[in-house]
């Protein structure tokens, strides 16, 4: 009886809510809704939902923004399939602006609305090489993977990758990186070690396009990583599942060193979940990877020339870039620092945000993740 009653009550509430939302929609019929699709971690969700969207709506009445969020990009493959299918059929996919790692893949497949300074004027301030690398994606923020270390136990962090590898072997159980299929910070360490044995030309080829013929050259780096199994934290070569777990292991003192995303680390420090004695630094030869995050406007979006374009242009404005730098995200800007609020950009000391070493094209990155899983953990 009681369950029936509960069902009836909740059905009535749902009905009432449905009625009220449809009524409010009718009242604001003139408002154009922009559908934003985000495939990322929760810090990016907060950036959009709590910071960018309210500021955009305040600056641009007449637009509403609806954010769809996919945690860790679990549905990237399905979303790509949906957009590809929509493009093939020439139909609106119901998404106007995408923020996610698969944007450049969509761009390479010719599924994005090509951004130019003519339609998005603020692109004039964006680095041309970064813009070109997006293959139709619009760079709007940057981040880098950095080496985080516990200053209580590590007064001077390693400066180069070789020094880091030596440190790991001299301090067993005190370093970790997460499984590359679970998050970009661990992936970056894997790619950096693999890149150590590659020529500059090979590295560039793997960033620019699918290059299966070069993958055999990863063997040396993967062997180096396998040999680290007995020196990293966890028995028999086990690694944290994702970015957040590496941060947790650092904060609780389980490890003294690990690779982390610059923005996630800065947010954790600000939120108080990361103790102040944990610091970050970049290594060299090669550096840990980083790069721009791209927005994509699907070529078939009905709003491509309207709301989507307005929102993308606004995100590149100094006002929005200041929010990206100083808000909860602590991201890197894509426009010159001179145009931004100097008090917010002071935290970038020591990190060269204009010269970030790019990650591989996603097809090569997928292969590297797979090769890592079959050759490194538990071997």
């Amino acid at each position: 009886m009681t369950t029936k009653k509960a069902v009836a009550v909740s059905a009535a509430i749902a009905l009432a809510l449905g009625v009220s939302t449809s009524a409010s929609h009718a009242a604001m019929a003139k408002v154009q809704t922009i559908q934003v699709y985000i495939s990322a971690d929760t810090n990016i969700q907060d950036l959009w939902v709590k910071t960018l969207v309210p500021a955009f709506k305040a600056a641009n009445p007449g637009y509403d923004v609806n954010v769809t969020f996919d945690l860790h990009g679990d549905h990237d493959a399905q979303e790509t399939a949906k957009l590809t299918a929509a493009a093939t059929l020439g139909k609106d996919a119901g998404v106007d602006l995408i923020d996610g790692g698969f944007v450049t893949t969509l761009g390479a497949a010719g599924l994005l609305f090509r951004p130019t300074v003519g339609i998005i004027p603020n692109l004039i301030d964006v680095n041309k090489t970064v813009l070109k690398a997006g293959k139709g994606g619009i760079p709007y923020r940057g981040s880098s993977v950095l080496l985080a270390y516990n200053t209580k136990n590590v007064p001077t962090p390693p400066k180069t990758l070789d020094e880091l590898l030596t440190w790991i072997k001299n301090n067993p159980g005190k370093f970790t990186y997460n499984a590359p299929n679970g998050g970009g910070s661990g992936y970056s360490f894997v790619q950096t070690v693999v890149d150590k044995y590659l020529s500059d030309a090979d590295r560039k080829a793997l960033v620019a396009g699918a290059a299966p013929e070069l993958e055999a050259k990863w063997a040396k780096g993967l062997e180096t990583l396998r040999q680290l199994n007995k020196y990293t934290y966890g028995q028999n070569g086990t690694y944290p599942a994702n970015n957040a777990e590496t941060l947790k292991d650092l904060a609780t003192g389980l490890v003294d060193m690990g690779t982390v995303w610059s923005d996630q680390f800065a947010s954790a420090v600000k939120a108080g979940t990361m103790p102040s004695y944990i610091k970050v630094a970049q290594i060299s030869n090669p550096t840990l990877t980083g790069g721009a995050s791209y927005l994509g406007i699907p070529a078939t979006s009905a709003n491509r020339n309207k709301g989507a374009r307005v929102l993308a242009n606004w995100v590149l404005s100094p006002a929005a870039q200041n929010l990206i730098v100083s808000g909860t995200l602590n991201g890197f800007p894509v426009i010159p620092l001179a145009k931004l609020d100097p008090t917010a950009t002071g935290t970038f000391a020591g990190v060269d945000i204009q010269n970030l070493r790019a990650g591989y094209l996603s097809a090569n990155a997928n292969d590297l993740k797979s090769k890592w899983a079959s050759t490194v953990p538990g071997k």
Partner: protein, 313 residues
């Protein structure tokens, strides 16, 4: 579905003008059957053809996006994706881990559930009801929460290690081991089995237990010759449901298991998402499907048996 069909059979035999009734019964059973066929059967068929290399029609989009796709080479397809999986160094370890975790966890779940059910039936009292009630609690905790709770409990800085460190014992870190997957699987599967088995054990008539005792049977004898055989059907149902659930589990092995080898549920997701190899992930899915079918046969057999005993068929 089964009960609907059997009911029509029974009524059809009772009435002389049974053909009209059985037609009605058939029509009544059609909607769920068509639903299963449309939304489960057809996607399985499409998935199966894709695993064989049929890359056109409904499989076209995924074939454009996926990596290491093998298009068919014969009229019936190709086994190249199957060969990929069987030659992958990860697969054997994954399969062995999946089957071992499933077998060990299921046996543990049934033993614990049986112990609680028997205690409640034969001893009873306040402790028994408290124990039975407490054991249902995990049913109301979402799996992702319990997985994370177990992770922090047995982790490197978890409760167990901290507690034992205080008395000078170095308790092992259990997270990222197959032991942790078994602990997590047992924890999450227990409530359903307890509900199922204790209701089966409760249904054994007092008269039978008492007459066995009157004949001088020991408690152990009562359990092994009266209670357990009479509760066999619910025990088998609980066992097969638990085994199928654990075999296809994802959250528990993802949070608690090692990176490699991992259970097939996690590996399928890795292949589909992180490595972008949809064809190979489907091949693994069909292997899990086959293994689960074996368990399902046991379930159907026990259902048919109990239906025969009660005279329904």
């Amino acid at each position: 579905m089964r009960s609907l069909l059997s009911k029509t059979g029974k009524e059809g035999s009772l009435a002389n003008n049974g053909s009209a009734l059985s037609l009605l019964g058939f029509a009544l059973s059609l909607p769920p059957f068509l639903l299963v066929l449309g939304f489960v059967g057809i996607p399985i068929l499409i998935g199966f053809t894709f695993s064989l290399g049929f890359t056109r029609g409904p499989n076209r989009v995924i074939s454009i996006i996926g990596q290491q796709i093998h298009p068919k080479t014969h009229w019936w397809g190709t086994l190249a994706a199957y060969s990929d999986v069987f030659h992958d160094s990860r697969f054997v370890g994954d399969l062995v881990l999946t089957l071992a975790v499933t077998a060990i966890s299921t046996v543990l779940v049934i033993l614990i559930a049986l112990a609680i059910a028997l205690h409640q039936r034969l001893v009873g009292g306040r402790t028994a009801s408290v124990l039975a009630t407490l054991s249902i609690v995990p049913l109301f905790v979402p799996v992702v929460i319990s997985a994370w709770a177990i992770h922090t409990f047995y982790g490197g800085d978890g409760f167990m290690r901290s507690f034992f460190a205080n008395i000078g014992i170095n308790f092992p870190t259990l997270t990222s081991t197959s032991t942790a997957i078994v602990i997590g699987s047992v924890w999450t599967s227990l409530p359903f089995s307890i509900l199922m088995i204790s209701s089966g054990v409760q249904a054994v008539p007092d008269a039978l237990i008492e007459s066995a005792k009157d004949c001088g049977a020991s408690t152990l004898k009562v359990i092994s010759t009266v209670v357990v055989p009479l509760a066999q059907t619910p025990i088998i149902i609980a066992g097969s449901f638990t085994a199928i659930g654990i075999m296809g589990s994802f959250t528990i092995p993802l949070f608690l298991g090692p990176n490699q080898p991992t259970m097939l549920g996690v590996e399928i997701s890795n292949f589909f998402g992180a490595y972008n190899r949809p064809q190979q992930s489907l091949v693994m899915a069909f292997i899990v499907f086959l293994a689960a079918s074996g368990i399902a046969v046991l379930y159907i057999w026990s259902n048919v048996k109990s239906a025969k005993e009660s005279g329904r068929i």
